[in-house]
């Protein structure tokens, strides 16, 4: 327990050194020293003042959060923005990966454009120099042949274009940097309010769509974050159902269903879909669960997207007419073992995260894999470049054509 001004200020200095600049640190210590000075002049003891201020460790934490954002704003270098991003995401339990992927993307794009601009400037300058030398009629002996073109004006143009590209790139980077900082700052009060206006634990919510004589289902599922499970098995006369699990639902759940001829079209989406403004995401995405059950009675055109979180699709018992999966960040498992349904085409696009596929070995399967960063591990298929086919085919086996595009993460395909 800290009871003197000296100890209090020392603890603050200790906890802040290395986190705020030395000027900021002096400013902070001055402010608190001033607080002690005025307090004492009004007859309060150091012990009373220490107690009223609250533990210096907690106060230091608040100061660190407040000054990190401040630092990023002043210098706006990639490093400090990075640091502030980390601190803020930690402070608020955000999904760090989801915040940082766009960050890296921006950094790479701006760097490339910057380099291209520099190349234009240098190239333009050299050409301009050569053109001027030529103009002055000085004979040059160079190891390569130079035509009289480009002339002075063209070289000058390239040079100026380079300057414009670099300036525009820097201005845009600056602009986006500010945007990012403004966004981070919004998080700060948002979190302070979090305990205050925090949504109550939502009771599990179920949506069920009746069959109503439909001969086919066209199902679209869009989830912002969470653990998504999809499989077969619904009650009688129920075409599909979805249950949101424990925890707070990240944003409202919207759905609609309509009949199109004999096909029932259903879409379900959880409206909090913006990547960048996901301020009420949980620290652990698995806190949200989405459980979707689909009828085995009718052919299903399935279109699934999970922005962040794990996705488990047990499709072996379903009858699919098409399959489209686009996942953002998170592990994806697709199990088609024992598939007995109709022919279908599948497209699987996975952003960041491992992909595991269990494919039926007795189907007429053609698999094309475009992998990004991460190994591909395929067992039990005939390999031809990036195309994989099943070795033995039953005559009446359903035909499955599957295209996989993976960003970052391993791909494992197993014939079962």
């Amino acid at each position: 327990m800290v009871t003197t001004e000296h100890e209090y200020l020392d603890t603050l200095r200790d906890r802040l050194t290395g986190y705020v600049t030395s000027e900021d640190l002096e400013e902070v210590l001055e402010e608190y020293a001033g607080h002690f000075a005025i307090g004492k002049s009004r007859g309060r003891t150091e012990e009373e003042l220490c107690k009223a201020l609250g533990s210096p460790e907690d106060v230091a934490k608040e100061i660190r959060a407040a000054y990190l954002i401040h630092k990023a704003e002043q210098t706006k270098s990639a490093g400090t923005i990075w640091q502030a991003t980390r601190a803020t995401t930690r402070l608020h339990g955000l999904n760090f990966v989801a915040v940082i992927v766009p960050f890296i993307l921006f950094a790479v794009v701006f760097s490339l454009v910057f380099i291209a601009g520099l190349a234009l400037i240098c190239g333009g300058a050299v050409l301009l120099l050569l053109a001027l030398v030529k103009l002055l009629g000085i004979a040059l002996t160079l190891p390569w042949h130079i035509s009289p073109e480009p002339g002075v004006l063209v070289s000058l143009g390239i040079f100026i274009a380079g300057i414009i590209v670099v300036a525009l790139d820097m201005w845009l980077a600056h602009f986006f940097g500010r945007l990012a900082i403004r966004h981070l700052k919004k998080k700060l009060p948002a979190k302070k309010d979090a305990g205050f206006f925090s949504p109550q634990q939502a009771a599990p919510q179920t949506i069920a769509i009746g069959r109503d004589g439909a001969a086919a289902l066209d199902l679209q599922v869009r989830v912002s974050a969470g653990e998504l499970t999809l499989g077969g098995g619904t009650g009688d006369q129920v075409l599909m159902s979805m249950t949101t699990g424990n925890g707070n639902c990240p944003g409202p759940l919207g759905y609609s269903s309509s009949m199109d001829g004999t096909t029932k079209r259903v879409w379900i989406r959880n409206r909090h879909l913006s990547w960048w403004s996901a301020h009420d995401w949980p620290a652990d995405e698995s806190a949200y669960t989405w459980d979707v059950r689909v009828s085995r009675e009718v052919p299903v055109a399935l279109d699934v997207k999970n922005h962040a979180g794990r996705t488990f699709l047990a499709l072996g018992e379903l009858n699919l007419s098409s399959l489209l999966i686009k996942n953002g960040v998170g592990e994806t498992q697709i199990d088609l073992a024992g598939y007995r349904g109709g022919n279908f085409d599948a497209t699987i696009k996975n952003g960041v995260g491992d992909l595991v596929l269990r494919m039926p070995e007795d189907c007429n399967l053609r698999l094309e894999i475009h992998s990004g960063i991460g190994g591909t591990n395929v067992r039990g298929f005939v390999v031809n470049g990036n195309v994989y086919t099943t070795s033995t085919i039953r005559p009446d086996a359903p035909r499955i054509t599957c295209l996989i595009k993976q960003g970052v993460g391993s791909i494992t395909v197993e014939a079962v």
């Binding site: 902070v28 402010e31 407040a66 302070k192």
Partner: protein
Amino acid sequence: MNIQFKKGVLEICVLCALAKKDCYGYELVDEISKKIDIAEGTIYPLLHRLKDEGLVTTWLQESGEGPPRKYYRLTETGRTKEQEQRDEWIHFAASVSALLEGESHGDN
């Protein structure tokens, strides 16, 4: 009282106090902690953040006793924000009170 409640209202209390008159840190802390039991030390980082956001500015005044005092003053943006938050809060508090009273009547 729940600490999150206090944290949530601290910003609006500070803005409101500054809307009445310019204050130096100690004065502000003293005024607020008289009404709300809060760790006084957390008001300074809050003031810093408000300054960063351009809601307040500071000016120094020599004082007879000790070092010059740093006064905080609301900017125009700060004034607008104060009005907004005050309206929001009054509306919010009224809704919550109505809700709570409704519930307790229901229990009776």
